[in-house]
Symmetry: C2
Subunit: 231 residues, 2 copies
C-alpha cells in the first residue's frame, strides 16, 4: 500500500460506454448481452475495468475498441455513478462515457462475438444495473450538445445529403423540422462544403452531397462564432 493515504478504502472502478449510431432515419444504441455474473444474459452497455496504470479516458477507449474496433471517434465522459448498491456483485463506481460512431464503420465480427445489437433508442429494453439511467442521461446530453456543437457529423458518413442531415437532427431531437429553415440555418453557418456528387439512393432526382469542413469551423470559432440550432 502507498506511503500516503494508508488508511483509505480501495474500490473497484468500471467504465461503461453508451454507443450511438444513426441508421435508417433512427438514432440507435449498441447493446450487448452481458456475459458474466451478476446479471449474465441481461441487456447491458459494454463496459470494462480500468487498470491501475490506465487513465479513465484510455480505459473507455479500450472498451469501445474492444467492441467496435474503432479508435479516434467522438467520445465524452458522461457521469460517474457511485451508489453503493448499483452493482449487486460488489461496490463498483462506474464512470460512464458516450460515443458517436459512423454506423457501418464498426467491426461486424467483433460485434457478433459480443452478441451485441443495434437498438433504436425508442425501443430500448430493460438494462442491467443502472444502465438505463446512464442511457437516459446520455440521450439528454447528446440532445443538449447537438444544439450547441456540430457533433451530428460524427454520426454520418463523411459525405451526406441535406435530407440525411435533417433526418439525423430530427432523430436526435425527436421533432420534425422545416426543411427550408433547416437548410437556411445550417448552410448560413458556412462550414459545409457542397460537392458536385449526388446521392441517388433515396430519390430519382438525387440530393447533393456535403462535407463538414473542420478547418472552416475552427476558423469561425476563432472569430467568435457559436454553433446553435434551435429546435
Amino acid at each position: 500500500m502507498s506511503k500516503y493515504y494508508p488508511n483509505e478504502d480501495r474500490q473497484l472502478l468500471a467504465v461503461d460506454c453508451v454507443i450511438f449510431g444513426f441508421d435508417d432515419h433512427e438514432l440507435k444504441l449498441l447493446l450487448i448481452k452481458r456475459n458474466m455474473e451478476p446479471g449474465k444474459g441481461l441487456w447491458s452497455l459494454m463496459g470494462g475495468f480500468p487498470k491501475r496504470c490506465e487513465g479513465l479516458d484510455q480505459a473507455a477507449e479500450r472498451v469501445l475498441k474492444q467492441l467496435t474496433g474503432l479508435e479516434n471517434v467522438y467520445m465524452e465522459q458522461l457521469y460517474a455513478y457511485g451508489e453503493v448498491d448499483r452493482d449487486p456483485g460488489e461496490r463498483v463506481v462506474s464512470i460512464a462515457y458516450y460515443s458517436l460512431i459512423k454506423i457501418g464503420d464498426y467491426d461486424k465480427e467483433l460485434v457478433r462475438g459480443f452478441d451485441a445489437h443495434w437498438v433504436p433508442v425508442s425501443e430500448i429494453p430493460e438494462l442491467v444495473f443502472d444502465h438505463s439511467v446512464m442511457v437516459d442521461k446520455a440521450l439528454r446530453r447528446l440532445r443538449r450538445r447537438a444544439r450547441i456543437q456540430p457533433i451530428g457529423f460524427e454520426l454520418l458518413p463523411e459525405k451526406f445529403s441535406m435530407p440525411e442531415l435533417q433526418s439525423l437532427y430530427e432523430g436526435i431531437f425527436q421533432k420534425e423540422l422545416d426543411k427550408r429553415n433547416f437548410r437556411k440555418k445550417i448552410l448560413s453557418m458556412g462550414f459545409l462544403d457542397k460537392l458536385v456528387e449526388k446521392d441517388k439512393s433515396s430519390s430519382k432526382k438525387g440530393a447533393f452531397l456535403y462535407k463538414f469542413n473542420p478547418e472552416k469551423y475552427q476558423e469561425l470559432l476563432s472569430k467568435g462564432f457559436y454553433f446553435s440550432l434551435d429546435v
Copy 2:
C-alpha cells in the same frame, strides 16, 4: 475479495469540492491550505475519500459539511478525473463536485480550522494537482447552467434586490448587463415574488426585495416553460 470480478484492480477514490459563494459583487471560491502530503501547504480544493459503504454524492456532501457545516445546498457532480499521474502520491480517481452556497451561512469556526479562505474567481492562485482544471470546468459549467436554470438564487440570501441579482449575474457571466432589459426579462418569467420591504444598505432610496418562488417555478416548468438568460 469478492466472488465476482476477482481479478480486477481496486483503486483509491476521492471527491473534491469546488465551493462557490457570492459577496461584494464578486463570485468567490472557498479554498484550503492542504494539510497533508503530498502537496502539504499548497492551495487546494476541499476533498475527502469515499468509504466503501458510502455513495459518491454522500461523500461529497460529507466533505462539504466538514468544511462549511452546511447541508442541503445546491451540489452537482462535475467530472471524474482519472489521469494516472494526477496525484503524485498514488493513482487516485477523483470525482469533482461543485456547490453553490449562500455566503454568510457557512460555519466560520470550521472554515478557520481548515485554514480556508474565500478567493475571488479572478484571483485564484495556483492549486495542487489538477485542481485548477477542476475549477476551470466548474466555472464554465456554472456559466452554462446559470443561463438555463434559475440557480443564481442559490448564491443569494433568501431576500435580494434586483440590483443584487443583476450584479450576481454580471459576476457569473463576467459581463455588464442592461438593467432595464435584465429586469424586464427576469420579472417577465414570473417566479419572483416582490416584497414590500426594501434593502437600504446600498442606496438612500432603497431597493425592493424579491424572493424566488420555487412553487411558481415548478408550475411554469410543468407548463413547458424554459428558463433562459441570454448574455
